[in-house]
């Protein structure tokens, strides 16, 4: 750590440091930020931008940038802030880490911070005619300001950029997203293959896609804003409503983050149960992903095969958690209740059934000559781009990116079980698909080991640690990531240490993997056919509520 600190102060003397938190915090003035960002990436190899969390600290507005060196897995975070609340402006780093493009648009959407030199300053989730910036502490939530508008916004093609010239003067340049000659088709928001209310505007030339513009926010619920008015235990409920196919992992991450802040040790039994639930969730998610990918390519039968085995997992959830979809099972300090007496047996049976079914899936779809023709060399994502766009999870690993949080930053008991990180090389749609199929086998392997652990634990045991009735976090901020079904799911939690009698989070930011996945749709679909757009988006396998948090 000290080493990095020295190097950074050599690069940027105006940076100040704070080592009191879990990670090294670097405070950088905005005018030095862009140069430092470049140096951090190129010289110190902080090539992965995990998360950008905008925060309103009342006296100032700014962003927290979480960075990872993917070779050494060192993490630091950088705080950049401005005291100007009227026209807050920061410099963009979207030219350094491409993922920052959409992340900064999100920050602009919620905090009104304009990013200088950002190519496309539009709101990401909210309508263009929205009044105010909702996550600011001085936001006016008066419904008369933002009534329920029944008409489509007129100027959805308009955007602008703030361009800084050599003298440091900032000029506003108005732009259009699509030119007048482009033939734009609308894919979504109501479309069979966008897997939810996602909308792409694709400029096409014949059947060839030239450019894709992502229009998001059709089911944006403002979960981060909602959480700011809830206590920690009740806030957990919302985490499952983001990626519903990674409900356990999302909740797990949030619980871990709060437990880290409180310093609670989770009982061994609870850890095992949590891990098993995570892996079952991953299995179910990958089965669904198999079904959707095949169906999007017209192989409807394969879809039903995937759903057949998925039902077994849902039965297990139903028995133990009492619900099939939003399980609400993890809680701060452990899990809500002990598992069903037949749980371990059921898991073993489901593992056997799925293991038997996987060769069937391959027989039906993977080896099919049409399927190979549709997926091989379609939508190739290079390793460099995967890091640049922070594509984690199965999609990142298909490009050869070692990004499995279970391996890189083990949490729970993942360093006690034996499993392989599935990594492919080509980064095309077929590899993304194959990573998921192989990961199912690894999940089964983990589950079997966990079943043995549960046998040692016995039928009953301590499943939740002692936690205070009213949960209050000390002042500070924490970041926790877990490997969700679709990539690294991060939780940024900031507490001001105040609040009576109940405490609400001061700021909570969920860094969802799917948000980054839509960032590469334009990159991967360019110069492919319309049919490939569907294949690529299906192989990226995002979940819309996870994007529109």
């Amino acid at each position: 750590m000290a080493n990095i600190q020295e190097k950074i102060s050599a690069l940027c003397p105006s940076a100040t440091f704070d080592e009191s938190g879990e990670l090294l915090l670097v405070n950088v003035p905005d005018e030095n930020w862009h140069a430092l960002a470049k140096a951090l990436k190129e010289e110190l190899h902080f090539d992965l931008l995990n998360a950008v969390a905008g925060v309103d600290w009342k006296e100032s507005l700014g962003c927290m940038y979480y960075l990872t060196n993917t070779e050494t897995q060192e993490m630091i975070h950088v705080k950049v802030a401005t005291t100007d609340r009227e026209t807050p402006r920061l410099h963009t780093v979207s030219d350094v880490w491409a993922v920052a493009n959409y992340q900064e648009r999100e920050v602009y959407d919620f905090f009104g911070i304009e990013f200088i030199n950002h190519p496309d300053m539009r709101r990401f989730f909210l309508r263009n005619d929205w009044v105010g910036y909702p996550l600011r502490k001085d936001y006016d939530a008066n419904p008369e300001l933002n009534p329920l508008r029944l008409e489509a916004e007129e100027n959805e093609d308009d955007t602008y950029a703030l361009v800084e010239d050599e003298k440091g003067e900032i000029k506003r340049v108005d732009k259009k997203v699509f030119g007048p000659d482009e033939y734009v088709i609308n894919v979504g928001p109501q479309h069979p293959s966008t897997h939810g209310v996602m909308r792409y505007r694709a400029a096409i030339d014949g059947e060839v896609v030239k450019k894709v513009d992502v229009v998001s926010g059709y089911i944006h619920r403002g979960i981060e804003k909602l959480c700011e008015d809830l206590t920690y235990p009740s806030m957990l409920l919302y985490t499952e409503r983001m990626d519903y196919m990674g409900a356990h992992m999302n909740r797990h991450a949030t619980c871990l983050c709060i437990e880290k802040a409180l310093g609670i040790e989770v009982p061994h039994r609870a850890e095992v149960i949590r891990m098993m639930m995570d892996e079952l969730m991953r299995l179910s998610s990958h089965l669904l992903s198999y079904g959707c990918l095949t169906m999007d390519q017209g192989a409807t039968t394969a879809f039903f095969y995937g759903f057949r085995e998925r039902e077994l997992i849902y039965d297990i959830f139903d028995k133990t958690c009492g619900a099939r979809m939003s399980m609400s099972y993890d809680t701060i300090g452990g899990v809500v209740r002990d598992v069903d007496p037949e749980f371990v047996n059921d898991v073993r049976k489901a593992c056997d059934a799925i293991e038997k079914a996987i060769p069937e899936y391959h027989k039906l779809f993977s080896g099919n000559v049409i399927a190979l023709g549709r997926m091989k060399d379609v939508g190739t994502l290079s390793l460099e781009d995967a890091k640049n766009y922070a594509i984690t999870g199965p999609s990142g690993r298909a490009s050869g990116f070692h990004c499995d949080v279970r391996k890189t930053q083990p949490y729970s008991l993942y360093n006690e079980v034996e499993f392989d990180e599935v990594v492919y090389e080509n980064g095309d749609s077929f590899d993304r698909y194959m990573v998921r199929m192989k990961e199912m086998e690894q999940s089964i392997k983990i589950l079997r080991q966990c079943c043995d652990m549960m046998d040692k634990e016995g039928h009953q045991g301590e499943f939740c640690a002692k936690v205070p009735k009213i949960i209050k976090l000390p002042a500070g901020h924490w970041y926790q990531q877990v490997e969700a079904s679709r990539g690294a799911f991060g939780v940024y939690l900031e507490s001001d240490g105040e609040g009576k009698p109940f405490q609400h989070p001061y700021r909570i930011h969920f860094q969802s993997p799917c948000f980054n996945l839509v960032g590469v749709v334009d990159l991967t679909c360019k110069d492919n056919l319309i049919a490939d757009l569907i294949t690529i988006t299906a192989s990226l396998d995002y979940v819309i509520p996870d994007i529109d948090r």
Binding site: Y183, I185, N186, H191, P192, S193, E207, T294, M295, D296, Q297, G298, A299, T300, T301, A302, F304, Y305, R308, L364, F365, N368, I370, A371, G373, R374, L529, I530, A531, D532, L533, I534
Partner: protein, 358 residues
């Protein structure tokens, strides 16, 4: 083998006994027309149910089970629903063409339907260029699809129609060549003639390797011409929502749907006609007892059985394979199927001229 020509002749004589020739012909035409429409709708109902059950079976499901015993009345309920639905006409569409398009598609399939050899002496249109006529009228359907796509004034339908134009025009060549191969073997274009030529053995058995190649080419090309999976690109639900008929509702959509199922029956029927002997029973030369037993099965049962079997093969293909992409589809036709078909035609001509077939 019972010849249904006796029945038709008897009706003809009966009518001529009480009325002049022109009136008798008019009445006969009316009877045939009504019979055609009736068969058309009955086959459609059977096929919708058939496809749903087969699809359910392949996908580990039961298929429709709730309306009526084994879901038998589900199709009727659906037909009733489609008939009562509003016909939505959109702004800025070409109203006339928009309305006309579904009829083109249905009429094209009805014309083909009328050519099928239902049984011994049971055939509505039997001209000396029967197969050629089928190939000709099948192209009218493309026109309907193109019109539907163009007149809807929607980008999805236009892309669907463009794909359909490219696809159906391409694959018609291969179906045509496969048909020509059989004509070469049969020595006639007349449908009854082709059936008659298969008296001593179906072409798939007697025609040697070229007949089998032609059969495979025909199955692939007919599937594509029919817009069924894996070649359902004009519809391509997951890309273009519903392709060329996205903007249609009510019975106008119903017509497209109907025509699709009937086309499935028709291409199966033509496959049965060209390669499996039409209504001709299975005859093995030398086994007279066996042949006589086979003759006791009525000819319409033979024809329908073969057509249903072929349809099952088409459904099997549809529910097993993913959809091909437009460039792959065109590549398959122009680079592989068509050259192979032409080569096969030459091979067949050699076989026939040197008498190498059975």
């Amino acid at each position: 083998m019972f010849d249904f020509g006796i029945v038709t002749k008897w009706i003809n004589d009966l009518l001529l006994g009480v009325m002049p020739q022109w009136l008798a012909t008019t009445i006969e035409c009316a009877i045939v027309g009504v019979a055609l429409l009736l068969m058309y709708s009955v086959i459609a109902i059977i096929y919708i149910f058939y496809e749903r059950k087969v699809c359910g079976w392949i996908q580990c499901r039961l298929g429709p089970m709730r309306v009526g015993p084994w879901g038998l009345l589900q199709v009727f309920a659906d037909v009733f629903k489609i008939l009562t639905k509003e016909l939505i006409t959109l702004w800025d569409t070409d109203r006339l063409l928009f309305m006309l398009a579904p009829y083109f598609v249905v009429v094209a399939s009805m014309l083909m339907f009328a050519c099928l050899p239902w049984g011994n002496g049971l055939q509505m249109i039997d001209m000396n260029i029967g197969v050629f006529f089928i190939a000709a009228v099948s192209s009218i359907g493309v026109l309907g699809i193109l019109l539907a796509g163009w007149s809807s004034n929607s980008k999805y339908t236009l892309i669907g129609a463009m794909r359909s134009g490219a696809q159906m025009v391409s694959y018609e060549i291969s179906t045509g060549i496969a048909m020509m191969t059989v004509i070469c073997l049969a020595g006639t274009m007349s449908i009854s003639g082709i059936v008659e030529a298969q008296k001593d053995g179906w072409f798939i058995f007697t025609g040697h390797i070229p007949a089998i190649i032609a059969f495979v080419i025909y199955i692939i090309a007919a599937n594509a011409e029919n817009n069924r999976g894996p070649f359902d690109l004009p519809e391509a639900e997951h890309e273009l929502t519903a392709g060329y008929h996205t903007e249609y509702s009510g019975i106008h959509f119903g017509f497209f749907y109907l025509a699709e199922y009937l086309n499935l029956f028709i291409v199966s029927g033509i496959a049965a006609l060209l390669f499996l002997g039409g209504w001709m029973p299975l005859h093995i030369s030398g086994l007279d007892a066996f042949n006589n037993v086979m003759d006791y099965i009525p000819s319409p049962v033979w024809f329908l059985g073969k057509a249903f079997f072929m349809s099952f093969v088409f459904m099997w293909i549809r529910w097993s394979f993913p959809r091909v992409r437009i460039d792959q589809m065109l590549k398959l036709e122009w680079k592989y199927l068509m050259p192979l078909g032409l080569f096969n035609l030459v091979l067949m001509a050699l076989c026939v001229s040197f008498g190498l077939h059975f």
